[in-house]
């Protein structure tokens, strides 16, 4: 790990073009940041959870409407960066229509597959915060 980082530092000019802005912020992330499809309140939500990313103070609140143990609706609100917002939007989209158990299986790989972005390790928590909020909402009572 250390060798790898050192080698990257030494290899110099433009060696890490994959870390440039355009790929970090994929078209999907840009689109969902500008126009999230699942942002907003969900009156009558039956499962709600909220959490904060201690690294940056980002906050995501996820609201789920559960009917017959299925996710009938999902919405999120929060103060978060483009990556976290896009992730929350994708998580909400992915869980709608699933059973509670199926919804719990949504993981970072599923979200990344939709986002199609090169997320650096320092920003992975932005992707996973909505997932831990999802787990809390599904497992908690309310």
């Amino acid at each position: 790990m250390t060798d790898e980082v050192m080698a990257r530092a030494v290899s110099g000019p433009g060696s890490s073009t994959s870390r440039r802005g355009p790929l970090l912020y994929s078209d999907v992330i840009r689109e969902r940041w500008r126009r999230p499809r699942f942002r907003g309140d969900l009156p009558g939500a039956s499962a709600v959870a909220e959490d904060v990313n201690p690294l940056c103070g980002d906050r995501v609140r996820l609201m789920l409407a559960l009917a017959d143990d299925r996710v009938a609706g999902a919405r999120f609100v929060g103060d978060s960066c483009a990556i976290c917002t896009a992730s929350a939007d994708v998580v909400a989209e992915l869980v709608v229509g699933r059973s509670r158990v199926e919804a719990l299986t949504v993981d970072a790989a599923d979200v990344l597959a939709v986002l199609q972005a090169d997320i650096r390790p320092t920003r992975m928590r932005c992707v996973t915060l909505p997932l831990s909020v999802l787990a809390a909402a599904l497992k908690g009572k309310r």
């Binding site: 870390r19 840009r30 940041w33 690294l55 103070g57 980002d58 103060d79």
Partner: protein, 405 residues
């Protein structure tokens, strides 16, 4: 010759190319970079002189001790402390503040008060939360005025006979506000309270003279002032240090030990248990030498010009908000800003894509963020090696940001 023209060749890291662009390092408030002399001094020390300090009766041990204690003398002169006994080495600012909160905390009684401010770094909040909670004491904070300065009238009201400790930053790590240390220390002394000053954002950037500040304690880190990580300084007024029991025990801090008791060592070693950061002390000496060669007045002048350029330039970009006292007042070398419609982390990531390193987030000052009504900000901060061209790069990229996402 401008200061940066003189210093830039001394900083090897400035040769880095990041994401296809020459590195523009604007994050010295988090941790500065080091000149070659600091890096080499530490390498030389490890290559030639390392041994443990103080109790080694051999040549290398003596050399290491000499170098370690020479660093103390250097620091004493740099900050204008009255004696070398008043200079205690710690692991950094956070460690120094924790040490003080633990030590002074044990003198607190139920109902006593500790007064901090709304603009503190978490490192000057949490240790006092722990100390007051453990003793049934009360923690209060001086509020901020809308211009980013402390409400000194509120400070007067909050300062009472119950106040035992007043702990505050010399320079805010977010707003750049320079607090009136001498004035606040004098007032605190009138009610019999100790003053603890967090100098992390001041020591690297302005001429320091502890004898003029009049505080009881002053703490700072080496790594923000061109020195190594892992070492900091705790200045303590001699009479006060003499009166305090050490909070941490082991090796260097004792004279004699029995199973059930011990006699403490003299100052400053009483507060330095364990093998100290010796190579780091050597690095700190080199960093201070470097800064003194430049002259702290010149450093201040150079960084003030960059700060003003950044503040005025950023304020002129549509959709950009800057925080803290106005550009025309004396400020520290930091500029916190937000870009409408963009999260501070995205701003930092987009700047990084252009090779520009800035900090983003709450800057370990969540109560201050709440007071400002933001989740976080992006923050550019400056050091001796930064140039007006680099600030120009920052301004140019920020101006394009609103359409970047």
């Amino acid at each position: 010759m401008r200061l940066d023209e003189r210093t830039r060749p001394d900083f090897p890291i400035l040769e880095r190319v990041v994401n296809g662009h020459p590195l523009v390092y604007l994050d010295s408030a988090a941790s500065s970079q080091r000149p070659r002399t600091v890096i080499e001094a530490m390498g030389q020390y490890y290559a030639r002189s390392h041994a443990n300090v103080h109790r080694s009766i051999h040549t290398l041990g003596e050399e290491a001790t000499e170098l370690y204690e020479a660093a103390r003398d250097r620091v004493q002169r740099f900050i204008g402390a009255g004696s070398r006994e008043e200079v205690v080495f710690t692991r950094g600012t956070t460690d120094g503040l924790s040490l003080l909160a633990e030590t002074l905390g044990r003198t607190l009684r139920a109902g006593d008060e500790v007064l901090i401010t709304e603009l503190e770094h978490h490192s000057n909040i949490i240790p006092w939360q722990l100390a007051t909670r453990d003793r049934g004491a009360v923690l209060k904070a001086v509020p901020l005025r809308d211009d980013g300065t402390l409400d000194l009238e509120a400070f007067e009201r909050l300062l009472t006979r119950r106040t035992r400790v007043v702990a505050f930053a010399h320079v805010s790590n977010v707003l750049g506000t320079i607090n009136p240390v001498a004035e606040m220390s004098a007032r605190a002394r009138q009610v019999g309270a100790f003053t603890v000053v967090d100098g992390a954002q001041a020591a690297p950037h302005l001429p320091l003279d502890i004898s003029l500040l009049g505080c009881d304690f002053y703490v700072f880190s080496a790594h923000k002032m061109l020195g190594p990580t892992g070492i900091g300084v705790l200045y303590g007024r001699r009479e006060v240090l003499e009166s305090l029991e050490p909070g941490r025990g082991g090796s260097e801090m004792i004279k004699e030990v029995w199973i059930d008791r011990a006699q403490w060592n003299d100052l400053p070693w009483r507060f330095e248990p364990g093998t100290p950061p010796i190579a780091e002390a050597v690095g700190l000496t080199a960093a201070i030498e470097y800064l003194e060669k430049l002259g702290m007045e010149r450093v201040l002048e150079h960084e003030r010009a960059l700060t003003r350029q950044a503040l005025e330039g950023l304020a002129a970009v549509p959709g950009v908000n800057v925080y803290g006292p106005p550009a025309r007042t004396d400020r520290g070398a930091v500029v916190a800003f937000t870009v409408a419609g963009l999260h501070p982390h995205d701003v930092a990531a987009l700047l990084d894509a252009e090779g520009i390193a800035v900090r983003a987030g709450h800057h370990c000052a969540m109560p201050l963020m709440r007071r400002l009504g933001v989740v976080g900000t992006s923050r550019a901060s400056f050091s001796v090696f930064n140039s007006p061209d680099e600030v120009g790069r920052l301004l140019a990229v920020v101006a394009e940001l609103r359409t970047a996402l």
